[in-house]
Assembly symmetry: C2
Homo-oligomer: 348 residues x 2
C-alpha cells in the first residue's frame, strides 16, 4: 500500500495542493438568492448576449476560468491542465470552452459530482508531480438542462414536490502545487492558506430509485457511502470537521443523507450544509432547492471558501454527488445510480 | 518544473506503470474483419441477449473489464480505480458498468480519445502514488451511436464517402504500479514487460470543419498537434518509434494527418498505423474505416499489444483522437473541435 493511499478509496496528499483562486458566475435567479453577493458575476438574463442557452453556458464556463485567473494576475498560459465537465450531451460546454482556453484539457463526467471529481483528480495530478497549476470547473444552466433532460421550456411543465431547480452557474477553482506555494513570488492567491489535504474516490451506488424528479433521494446513498468510507479509512470522526458539505441533495435528499448516516452510527447534527439547500430563498419556490453541476461549483467556490478565508470554519469535507442517468436509460426502465467524490479542505 | 513534466504538456513516469492484461469484445461485423482472431469475445449479434443496444454496450464494457481480470486471476476487489467512458449521452455505458463492477470510478469523456485519456490519467495516478491497480476502458456500439448521433437505423440512411462505421467494441487495459510489478507474486501478467513510459495531454483543436460525416478531417489536426508537441517536448524523433498509432482517423483522416506532419517537417513514412484503417476489410464497405471509442480500445488492447508481446515492435506512441461535438452543437452551427491524448508504450 502506497503511503498516499490511506485506504482502498481514500488518499492523503504528501504536499497538500493549495487553492489559489476561484471564479463564479451565476444566473439572475441565483443572484437574487441569499448568496448573491458572494458570486463574481451575476447575469442579467440567461443568454449573456449569446444566440443560444448552450452558447451562454459555454461562455460562463470559459469566463469563470478567466475570472479566477484574473484575480491573481495569472496568465492562461500558466495553467498546466484544465479539468472540467458539465451536464450537456457530449460535454459540449466544457469541450468548447477548452477550445477557447487553449490549454491541455481532461474532460470529466461525474454529473453533478464533477466539481469534486475535478478537485480530487486535479489535486492528485499536482501532488503526483504532473502539474503545477490546474483549474477545475463545472457548469450547468437551467434552460439547457431543462430542454435536454426534461421538456421544452415552452411547455411550462409542472414539477413534483421532490424536484429541484438546475442552477445556472459556472464555478472554477485554481489549485497549485503546495511546494510552489511556499515561494511567495509564485503564489499570488486570494486565500491565505487553504489546501486540499486528501479525498475519497466515489463508487457507483444504486438504491433502485427510478424517479428522475427525486435526485436527492437517488444521490443521498452515494453521499453516505463516500462519507462513511472516508471516516472509516481515515480513522477520523465528524468531530474532525466544522462542516460536511454536500453538493445538491436538496432538502429531501439532505434529510435522507442524515438518516442514512444516523443508521450507520454517524450523527451529523448541525454539521451538514447542502449547497442546493442554501442557494435559493424559500419564496423563490424551487421545491427541494438547487441542483446541477454549477450548484456545488459556485457555492463552494463563491461562498464556502470565502467563509473559510474569513475564519468562520477551518476544516470541511466537500462532497459533490451526481445522478448517473440519461433520458434513454430512464426510458429503458433503468434505475438511477449515483456517485459522490469527496475532498477534504483545510484552512491552515 | 517538476521532473515528471518534461514539457508543458508532456509527462515522463518515474516508475513506468506496467500493462498487465487486456480484455476485448467486438461485434459480429468487427469479428469478420482482418483482426477477428485477436479479440477475446466476438458477439453473434448486436444485442448479446439484452433488451436494448444500450444495455448490450453496457454489458460489453463490464465484461471487457472482467475478461481482462480473469486472464490474470485478479479479483475485481483488487482494482483501485476503474477509469473509462463511452459516447452515449451522460456516459450511461460506463456509469452503469461501474455500478456492476462496484469499484471506485472516475468517469472520463474524451469522445473517441477516451482510451488514451484513461491510460494517461490512470498511469499518472499510479505513478503519482494514488493507486496500485487501475483499469482503463472505452466502448462504442454501432447501433447505439447511429441512433443517438445520426438517424434511426430503420431509416437505412446513406453515408457519404468520408464517413466511417462506428465500431461495436469494448476494450480494457489493466495497469499496475511498476514497483509492484517487480514483485513476481504480485504481478501475474499476460505480457512479459510492457510499460507506459509517458505521454502528452491533448489540447482542443478546431480547424473549422462542420461536416459531421468527416470525423477524420476533424481529428487529424488534433493528432498532428499532439504528436508534434510530444516530439518537441521530449526531444525525440519519429526514429525513436516503431509505429505512431492513431485511434480512428480512417483513410481520409490518416492521409490528412500525414500531410499535416509533413508540412511541419515530420515524415511518418510507413510508421503510421490507424486503428480505424485496419479494423475492416475493403469488401466490408465501411467507407473510410472504423471509428468510435471502441475502435482504438479493441485494436490497441486486442491486436497491437499482442504484436508487441510477440516482438514485432518495441516502442509505439498510441494516440487516440476524439471529435468533440453533439447533435445540438452541430445544429447550432458550431464547428467540430477535436482532441488527441497520447501515451508512449514500450516493450522492455
Amino acid at each position: 500500500m502506497n503511503t498516499k493511499c490511506i485506504g482502498k478509496r481514500t488518499v492523503r496528499f504528501q504536499t497538500p495542493p493549495r487553492i489559489l483562486s476561484t471564479g463564479t458566475i451565476v444566473g439572475d435567479v441565483e443572484g437574487e438568492g441569499p448568496l448573491g453577493s458572494y458570486f463574481d458575476i451575476i447575469l442579467k438574463d440567461d443568454m449573456w448576449g449569446e444566440k443560444s442557452y448552450e452558447k451562454c453556458e459555454c461562455k460562463m464556463f470559459e469566463q469563470s476560468v478567466r475570472t479566477a485567473l484574473e484575480k491573481i494576475g495569472m496568465d492562461t498560459e500558466k495553467l498546466d491542465i484544465v479539468l472540467g465537465g458539465d451536464l450537456l450531451n457530449q460535454l459540449i460546454t466544457a469541450n468548447f470552452a477548452a477550445r477557447q482556453l487553449g490549454r491541455p484539457f481532461l474532460g470529466l463526467y461525474g454529473a453533478c459530482s464533477t466539481m469534486a471529481e475535478g478537485l480530487l483528480v486535479g489535486s492528485m495530478l499536482i501532488d503526483g508531480g504532473f502539474a503545477n497549476y490546474v483549474s477545475a470547473t463545472a457548469s450547468s444552466h437551467f434552460s439547457t438542462a431543462e430542454r435536454q433532460f426534461r421538456m421544452p421550456l415552452e411547455l411550462g411543465g409542472q414539477t413534483p414536490p421532490t424536484s429541484q431547480r438546475t442552477v445556472t452557474g459556472a464555478g472554477t477553482v485554481i489549485i497549485c502545487d503546495g511546494q510552489n506555494a511556499a515561494d511567495k513570488n509564485n503564489s499570488l492567491s486570494i486565500f491565505e492558506n487553504i489546501v486540499v489535504v486528501g479525498g475519497t474516490i466515489g463508487k457507483v451506488i444504486d438504491y433502485g430509485i427510478t424517479d428522475a424528479n427525486n435526485m436527492g433521494g437517488v444521490m443521498a446513498p452515494a453521499a453516505a457511502d463516500t462519507l462513511l468510507t472516508y471516516l472509516e479509512e481515515s480513522g477520523e470522526t465528524i468531530e474532525d470537521f466544522d462542516y460536511i458539505i454536500t453538493g445538491d441533495l436538496g432538502s429531501f435528499g439532505a434529510k435522507m443523507f442524515k438518516e442514512l448516516c444516523h443508521d450507520s452510527g454517524v450523527e451529523l447534527g448541525d454539521k451538514h450544509i447542502d449547497c442546493g439547500n442554501i442557494m435559493f430563498l424559500p419564496q423563490q419556490n424551487t421545491k427541494c432547492g438547487g441542483s446541477g453541476c454549477g450548484c456545488a461549483a459556485t457555492v463552494f467556490g463563491g461562498y464556502l471558501l470565502k467563509r473559510m478565508e474569513a475564519g468562520d470554519f477551518k476544516r470541511v469535507l466537500f462532497m459533490a454527488t451526481g445522478a448517473l442517468m440519461s433520458p434513454v436509460s430512464s426510458m429503458q426502465g433503468e434505475s438511477i445510480p449515483a456517485i459522490a467524490h469527496a475532498v477534504v479542505v483545510e484552512r491552515r
